[in-house]
């Protein structure tokens, strides 16, 4: 490839960035997201203590700026003397892992189902889409709760439940964009050139359906983290002493009169994380999907 041909590539990226950066909220979200990812990658270095180690003599120590705070525990300790900051840091890692696993599994499964529905048509299409409609009838949190109640509480099952409840979104999106692409000439050209269905689906059509799916993944990250935390809060997700933010909150209920930090901090962490991914999702939508632009 000669230099003149390669030149437009950075131009496209720069164009994308300009469009993305126009949305100031999205830039803030991206910054938050980078901080979160860095923190979770460096959790072992940043955390002062193990997230599950109990310092029994130092339970419910307030954060450093309050009277009685200790430098050893900058954000205080919980009811059994575990360091809040370390738990929050490892919680960030866990949340990123949850968001990533759930969103990618839902994306892969949902896209495959959606493309299959679009390409196969007929009974297969009806079957898949009806199934998605049925899943959508249940309030997503309720369906997730029921699934976990059946599979048994735990982080893995909670994540699986969230995959199931977020699946319809990806499936519908993939099917709709694939159907729009299928009518285009390049697909017909590729088909008449002898491309097999599998190749048509994933190699020819899928790359052109990616924009809305990328937006959906960013928003899906947010939903996954929020729902997994809600399940944790209800005692159905990650089990103690796992430093999952929602699970931390469910244990904190009884201390709210004495120790606000045990209650306030994990929730703030959830809020900022979900907010970051939602902001980035909005920015991506503005940048990638000109149709939806204001």
């Amino acid at each position: 490839m000669s230099a003149t041909q390669a030149a437009p590539m950075p131009g496209r990226l720069a164009l994308f960035w300009r469009s993305f950066a126009e949305n100031r909220g999205a830039v803030v979200g991206l910054a938050l997201m980078c901080i979160l990812i860095t923190v979770s990658a460096l959790a072992d270095v940043l955390a002062l203590h193990s997230p599950v180690e109990q310092f029994r003599e130092h339970f419910l120590i307030p954060p450093i700026w309050q009277e009685g705070g200790l430098w050893d525990y900058p954000l205080g300790t919980d009811d059994v003397g575990r360091d809040m900051l370390s738990r929050l840091i490892y919680g960030a890692r866990l949340s990123i892992i949850i968001g990533f696993s759930v969103a990618s599994l839902a994306l892969i499964t949902g896209t495959t189902l959606g493309l299959t529905a679009a390409f196969a048509g007929g009974v297969v299409d009806i079957f898949i889409m009806r199934l998605m409609d049925i899943l959508l009838v249940f309030p997503s949190l309720l369906l997730a709760i029921v699934i976990v109640a059946i599979l048994g509480p735990g982080l893995f099952n909670a994540m699986l439940a969230v995959v199931v409840v977020t699946l319809p979104g990806y499936t519908r999106l993939a099917r709709a964009s694939a159907l729009a692409e299928l009518a285009r000439d390049y697909v017909t050209a590729s088909r008449s050139a002898g491309a097999r269905t599998f190749r048509l689906m994933f190699d020819t059509v899928l790359p052109n359906c990616l924009a809305p799916l990328i937006v959906q993944v960013s928003l899906g990250f947010a939903v996954a983290i929020l729902d997994a935390a809600a399940l944790g809060f209800l005692g159905l997700g990650a089990q103690p002493p796992t430093p999952e933010w929602g699970t931390m909150l469910s244990g904190a209920l009884q201390f709210y009169q004495r120790a606000w930090w045990v209650l306030a901090l994990p929730g703030l962490a959830i809020l900022f994380t979900v907010l970051a991914f939602n902001l980035v999702g909005d920015g991506l939508r503005d940048a990638l999907d000109p149709k939806l632009k204001r």
Binding site: F138, P139, I150, L226, L234, L236, L263, G267, L271, V274
Partner: protein, 334 residues
Amino acid sequence: MLRFLLGRVALIVPTFVGVTFLAFLLIHLVPGDPIEARVGEHGISEERLAELRHEFGYDQPMWKQFVDYEAQVLKGDFGVSVVTREPVIKEFATLFPATIELSLAAILFAAVFGLPLGVIAAVKRGSAFDYGLMGLSVTGASMPIFWWGLMMILIFSVTLGITPVSGRISDAFFVEPWSGFMTIDCNWSDDEGACRSAWSHIVLPMIVLGTIPLAIIARMTRSSMLEVLNEDYVRTARAKGLSGMRVVIVHALRNALIPVVTVIGLSVSGLLGGAILTETIFSWPGVGHWLVESIARRDYPVLQTGTLLIAVLVILVNLGVDLLYGFLNPRIRR
């Protein structure tokens, strides 16, 4: 119009069958069976176990159980709780008004504040108010409401002591259930202050459950208004010399409302999901709280039926929104 109506109604039949099948399937995916799951740890005799299984029909073949189940559901028989032995539908019916009251209050709260805020943001597009509101709205939409509820309790109940922590009304009052809505029924109470108590109990859960809808409504109203404000008929109205207020309220808002109303209607499902968390935090005696408790008690028939009834409710509301939308917007009637 009749054709449109019948078409939409016919479409929900397969969804309904699918939903009942899923609800039926859920209970059979429980490891062992619901009876074993419930009494497993108590170590009862095999004979008694078989007896219980027979009593609840779990010894029949799968397909027969499903056909029986479907027939029962259509007759309005939803089985009995394995814990209380009460018909599940009866328990549901007693608790349901509390959930509806809370959800309606939340959606009203969201609409009353969300609509004007969205309109103002659209009219003052690009102002500090607009940016501030949109920032708050994306934050609100990202809110983990279970935590938000706890913070509200921490601030308003524990620190300031101005609202009660849980329940629908203080035990000091007796209120004859008439509509099932405590804030309405309290008006017929002989005790002074019953209404005050009822309202002070509902205010926090209402705000907590209404936060996400509020954020969404404000945002939707804003973008919908922005679109409409650019339309020719709005320009015409302005050109006629009508006052700014009149143009915004009468000409623009009326048309901007259609998508907003649809979004409100379609958010029922999410609202009921949020109600589960809100009811759990505030010990609000509704179906959400009841369902979560049924998990701890391993009362699977309750979980199954409660889920099914909520799904049916969502189907009906969606159908209603669909029909209303077709009624408001003749173009989509095919």
